[in-house]
C-alpha cells in the first residue's frame, strides 16, 4: 500500500510539475491542483496508511486511526480549494485583460499596444472591472457561463 501511495505521489508531483512549466495559465492552475493533491497524499502517507476503525468513543474495540492527519489534510484541501478558486478568477481576468493565457509576459514589460488601447477604451473601468460597466458584447466581456 505504501508503495502504491509513493508511486501515486510521484506521478502527481511529476505531472503537476510538468504542467506548471507550461506557458498556458490554465495548465499552470491544473498543475498546481495536481501538486497540492500530491502534497496532501504525502501528508496522509507520511502519517502512516490508515488501518483501523474510526476514532469515535464507544464505537467498538481495537486499533483506531490517527484522526489528526485527516483533519490536517481536510484543512489543506479547504485552503487549496479557496486559493484555486481565486486563481481561476485571476486567470479569467487575465484572459479578459490580455486576451490570452500566456504567463510569460513579465510585469516589467510595457503592456502590449492592444492592451493599452483597450484600457483607454474602457476608461474608468480599470478598477471596478465589472461586466456591468461594460457594453454588452465588448471584447473581453467573457463567455456565457453556460
Amino acid at each position: 500500500m505504501e508503495l502504491v501511495l509513493a508511486l501515486v505521489i510521484g506521478v502527481l508531483f511529476g505531472t503537476g510539475t510538468f504542467l506548471m512549466l507550461r506557458r498556458n495559465l490554465i495548465r499552470v492552475v491544473l498543475g498546481l491542483g495536481l501538486l497540492s493533491h500530491g502534497a496532501n497524499l504525502m501528508l496522509m502517507a507520511g502519517a502512516g496508511v490508515p488501518r483501523g476503525r474510526a476514532p469515535i468513543l464507544g464505537a467498538g474495540a481495537g486499533a483506531v486511526v490517527d484522526p489528526l492527519p485527516q483533519a490536517l489534510v481536510l484543512t489543506a484541501i479547504v485552503i487549496g480549494f479557496g486559493v484555486t478558486a481565486f486563481l481561476l478568477v485571476l486567470a479569467y481576468r487575465h484572459i479578459a485583460t490580455f486576451g490570452d493565457v500566456d504567463v510569460l509576459g513579465t510585469p516589467m514589460d510595457p503592456a502590449p499596444a492592444r492592451v493599452q488601447a483597450r484600457a483607454a477604451a474602457d476608461g474608468e473601468r480599470t478598477v471596478a472591472g465589472r461586466a456591468a460597466s461594460r457594453p454588452a458584447g465588448a471584447p473581453g466581456g467573457g463567455g456565457d457561463f453556460r
Binding site: M20, L25, V28, L32, L35, S36, G38, A39, N40, M42, L43, M44, A45, G46, A47, G48, L68, P69, L72, T75, A76, I79, G82, V83, F86, L87, L90, A91, R93, H94, T97, F98, V103, G105, T106, P107, M108, A111, V115, A119, T126, V127, A128, G129
Partner: protein
C-alpha cells in the same frame, strides 16, 4: 501562564475585518473604523509585551485541549516584539492608506482585507504548532493575493499571477514537509517537537524536513535563489499595499525561520545553519546588485528588501545568542525603516505623480521635511551611525566575527556600501538637481504623519537602542534555550 490576551491580536482583526467587510460601502466606517481597530490592536500588543516581560511566556490552549493535542498559541518575547512592530506598521500604513487610496479600492473591501492580512501575520507570530503556522501563512497570503490584485490593472494582474503561483508551490511543499515531519516525530507542536528532536536517537532524519522547510520559508521570505517573484509583484500593487508587504510579509517568513531553526531544528548546525549562511550571503549580494540597475523608486526599494532579508538570515545562521539578538534587532529596525521609505516614496508620488526618478528632481528645495525624512531613513537603511541601522549591522557583524565567519561578514560590509549607493541615487535624482516644475502638487501635512512616526522610531532605536538591545538579547536567550517555551507549553503535564 495562560492568558486570554494571547489570542486578541488574531481575534480583533478577524472580527473587525468581518464588520469592515459588511460595512465596506461606507468610506467613513472603513477609514475611521479600521484606524481605531489598528490602534486598539497595537494597544493590546503593547500590553502583551509588558505581560510577557513581567510574567514570562504566555500561552493559550484553544478549546482547553492540553498540548501536544489541540491548538496552542504561545507568545514569548520574540513573538511579543514582532507583534508590537506589526501593530506599529499596521497603524502607520493605514494612516497613509486612508488619505491616498482611491475610493473604488476602498469600496471593494481594502480595509477588510487589510485586517485579514494582519490576522494572518499576527497568527503566524503567536501560533505554537507548525501546522497552524501553515494555516496562518495561508490566511496572510490569501489576503495578500487579493490585495495585490485589487483593482485588476494590467501590471497588477501579471505580478499577481507570479506572486500567487510561486507562493502556492511553496505552500504545497510546506504541506509535504509537514507530512514528513509528522511521520517522523508524531507531533507538530513546536514545543513537543523541540523535545522530540533533541531526544531522538537518530536526529539526522530530521534534516530532511528541515531542508524542505528552508526552501519553503526561503520562498516566503524571498531568499536566494527563490526571490525572483518579489521584484515582479511588489511594485505593481498600490503604494500602501507595497509598503505593508515590504514591511511585514517577508519578515513573517524570516520569523518562521527564526522560530523553527532556533527552537526545533538545532540538531545539525554544521549543515543546516551553514547552508543558511551561504544562502544569506548570496541573498544580500544579489539583492543589492539587482537594485543598482533600476531607476524607479518603488522598484529600488522592493529589490532592497531581498538584500536586507539576507542580513536577518545571516544572524539566524550564526545560531548564537549574539547572532539571534542581532537578527531580532535588525528585523525590528528593518520593518520600521523599510515601511517608512515606502511611505516617503508615496509622499514623493503625491508631489510629482511618479515613481520614476527621471521624472523627479529638486524636491529638497520645495519639500524640506520630506527630504529630511528620506535622509534619515535612507541613512538608517544603509547603516550610518547613530541610527538604528548602524547598530543592527554592527551587532550582526560583531556576532559573525566572534564566530569567525569572516566571508559572510565581508559580504555584509560590501553590501552596505551598495545600499548607501542606492540611497544616494534616489537622493541625487529625486531631491537634488533641477526642479522639474511640471505640476508639482502640495503634500498635505497629515500625510507626513505616518512616515514621520516611523522615522522617529528609527532615530529613537538608534539613540536609545539600549532598551531594544537588552530586550532582543533576552528574547534570543529565550529562543536558543527553549526551556521557558517548552515549560510554558508542556509544563501542564
Amino acid at each position: 501562564m495562560s492568558s486570554p490576551l494571547v489570542f486578541l491580536p488574531v481575534l480583533l482583526p478577524l472580527l473587525g475585518g468581518i464588520v469592515l467587510w459588511l460595512a465596506r460601502r461606507s468610506l467613513g466606517v472603513g477609514r475611521w473604523g479600521s484606524l481605531a481597530l489598528a490602534a486598539v490592536t497595537l494597544g493590546v500588543e503593547v500590553a502583551l509585551l509588558g505581560l510577557v516581560r513581567a510574567r514570562g511566556v504566555q500561552v493559550m490552549f484553544a478549546g482547553g485541549w492540553v498540548p501536544p493535542f489541540g491548538i496552542t498559541l504561545v507568545v514569548d518575547l520574540t513573538s511579543a516584539i514582532m507583534l508590537v512592530v506589526s501593530g506599529i506598521v499596521g497603524l502607520c500604513v493605514l494612516g497613509h492608506a486612508v488619505q491616498t487610496l482611491d475610493p473604488d479600492r476602498e469600496r471593494h473591501g481594502f480595509y477588510a482585507l487589510y485586517q485579514f492580512l494582519f490576522m494572518g501575520i499576527n497568527g503566524a507570530f503567536v501560533t505554537g504548532d507548525i501546522f497552524n503556522l501553515f494555516v496562518f501563512f495561508e490566511v496572510m497570503l490569501i489576503a495578500s493575493y487579493a490585495l495585490v490584485s485589487l483593482g485588476s490593472e494590467p501590471g497588477q494582474l501579471r505580478g499577481g499571477v507570479h506572486y500567487l503561483v510561486t507562493n502556492l508551490v511553496s505552500s504545497t511543499l510546506f504541506v509535504a514537509a509537514v507530512g514528513t515531519l509528522y511521520g517522523l516525530a508524531g507531533t507538530l507542536n513546536l514545543a513537543d517537537l523541540a523535545v522530540k528532536v533533541a531526544r531522538a536517537p537518530d536526529p539526522a532524519v530530521f534534516t530532511i524536513p528541515a531542508a524542505v522547510f528552508i526552501v519553503v520559508f526561503g520562498v516566503k521570505s524571498a531568499l536566494f535563489p527563490l526571490y525572483f517573484w518579489l521584484p515582479a509583484s511588489y511594485p505593481a500593487a498600490p503604494l500602501p499595499v507595497t509598503a505593508v508587504f515590504a514591511g511585514m510579509l517577508t519578515k513573517v517568513g524570516v520569523y518562521a525561520v527564526l522560530r523553527v531553526f532556533s527552537l526545533v531544528f538545532t540538531h545539525d548546525p554544521g549543515y543546516l545553519h551553514a547552508a543558511l549562511l551561504v544562502v544569506a550571503g548570496f541573498t544580500m549580494l544579489l539583492g543589492v546588485l539587482g537594485a543598482v540597475g533600476y531607476d524607479n523608486w518603488k522598484r529600488i526599494l522592493s529589490v532592497h528588501i531581498v538584500s536586507q532579508v539576507g542580513y536577518m538570515i545571516m544572524g539566524i545562521g550564526f545560531l548564537s545568542v549574539a547572532g539571534l539578538a542581532a537578527a531580532i534587532f535588525f528585523i525590528v529596525h528593518q520593518i520600521l525603516v523599510k515601511t517608512a521609505l515606502f511611505l516617503i516614496a508615496g509622499l514623493a508620488e503625491r508631489a510629482t505623480g511618479a515613481y520614476d526618478l527621471g521624472e523627479m528632481g529638486g524636491l529638497a528645495g520645495r519639500y524640506p521635511v520630506m527630504a529630511s525624512l528620506f535622509m534619515v531613513a535612507g541613512l538608517s537603511l544603509a547603516g550610518v551611525p547613530p541610527l538604528s541601522g548602524f547598530f543592527g549591522k554592527f551587532l550582526l557583524i560583531r556576532a559573525g566575527l566572534a564566530q569567525g565567519e569572516v566571508a559572510v561578514v565581508a559580504v555584509a560590509i560590501v553590501v552596505s556600501f551598495f545600499t548607501l549607493y542606492s540611497m544616494m541615487k534616489i537622493w541625487r535624482y529625486a531631491f537634488w538637481g533641477e526642479e522639474k516644475p511640471a505640476g508639482l502638487r502640495p503634500v498635505p501635512a497629515a500625510l507626513y504623519l505616518p512616515a514621520a512616526a516611523l522615522v522617529a522610531f528609527s532615530v529613537v532605536l538608534g539613540l536609545g537602542g539600549e532598551a531594544l538591545l537588552v530586550l532582543s538579547q533576552q528574547a534570543a536567550a529565550q529562543l536558543l534555550d527553549g526551556t521557558a517555551y517548552v515549560m510554558a507549553v508542556l509544563g501542564a503535564r
